[in-house]
Amino acid sequence: MDAAKKDSGGLTIYLVVYVSILALAGVQILLAYQHTEGPQLFFRVLSVALVQAWLAVMFFMHMRTERRSLVLSLGLYTVFVLLMMNMIWSDSFRLLQMRPFPK
């Protein structure tokens, strides 16, 4: 069945998701102006962005009503690639200890 047709159960859910995403954006801005810095601030804003992205994918893009096989195929591939990209951090910290980029 078509995902958008299945998901046509009223505007309320979309409005709730819309307001939630905007509220989370506001939370990010508040976090940025608190007295947190560095990794702590990074992980806080990343967590909020992930919740926003999850809401957008599941509700705006109707992923929650698609077949589980589609969700797993796309999701596992993406998560795997994103996790593999994290291998760069060790080199980034190594560079910080050695020599910064020139101006």
């Binding site: 995403i21 992205a53 705006f60 993406t78």
Partner: protein, 209 residues
């Protein structure tokens, strides 16, 4: 000969495989494009993170006014345009052709406004002396990272606006159907989704204190 009688490879059409995951092929292609594009954006954000982490004198130029206020407006416009896109898809699925066209054009107008605000912000930074490889505040790599990330996103927004207008016009003429509106909506929501990561990483981690 009717379409039902057309054969492929010597087999009747009835025994051909159904569309993978029970969605239209065009929609599956859009999902695959979105995944590959998401990985592209992730790569450019990881590269930015690598540079920022390894550079002690990374600039933090974004003052609350005008930069962060501008970002708040841009975020509001883009997320709202996602909602109007949803309205367009709902109208198209319900057979309300004029409603679908109207909401899709409103979405495109939101995208255009977002692009204009973004260009205005770029011009402001350029006026302050930010270039691709130099700026008045610190590491010269800031400009390259900032303009690459926001420029790639801006290109997606402008491309999306053009695509939405074309799809709406073709839908109006009957060449496209509600599936096409839904598929272009998927792309538009993805552009919104990318912005949710650009704002915290590029702007909020670099606010001036």
């Amino acid at each position: 000969m009717s379409d039902a009688n057309i054969t492929m490879g010597g087999h009747p059409a009835g025994v051909m495989e159904e569309s993978p995951f029970a969605i239209p092929s065009k929609k599956l292609v859009m999902w695959l494009f979105i995944i590959s594009d998401a990985v592209t954006f992730a790569a450019i954000l990881f590269a930015y993170g690598y540079l920022r982490n390894a550079t002690p004198d990374w600039p933090r130029p974004f003052k609350f006014s005008p930069s962060i206020v501008n970002v708040i407006f841009m975020t509001f416009i883009l997320v709202t345009s996602s909602l109007t896109m949803l309205m367009g898809v709902r109208a198209a699925k319900a057979g309300d052709k004029s409603g679908a066209i109207r909401w899709t054009f409103i979405t495109a107008a939101g995208g255009l406004l977002f692009a204009l605000l973004h260009i205005r912000e770029w011009l402001g930074l350029i006026k302050e002396g930010v270039r691709l490889f130099q700026n008045p505040w610190g590491s010269g790599l800031f400009g390259a990272a900032f303009f690459s990330i926001t420029g790639l996103h801006l290109a997606h927004v402008i491309g999306g606006v053009i695509a939405l207008v074309i799809v709406a016009l073709r839908y109006k003429r009957g060449r496209y159907n509600s599936d096409d509106i839904e598929i272009s909506g998927l792309y538009w929501h993805f552009v919104d989704l990318v912005w949710m990561f650009v704002v915290p990483f590029v702007y909020l981690l670099n606010v001036a204190r």
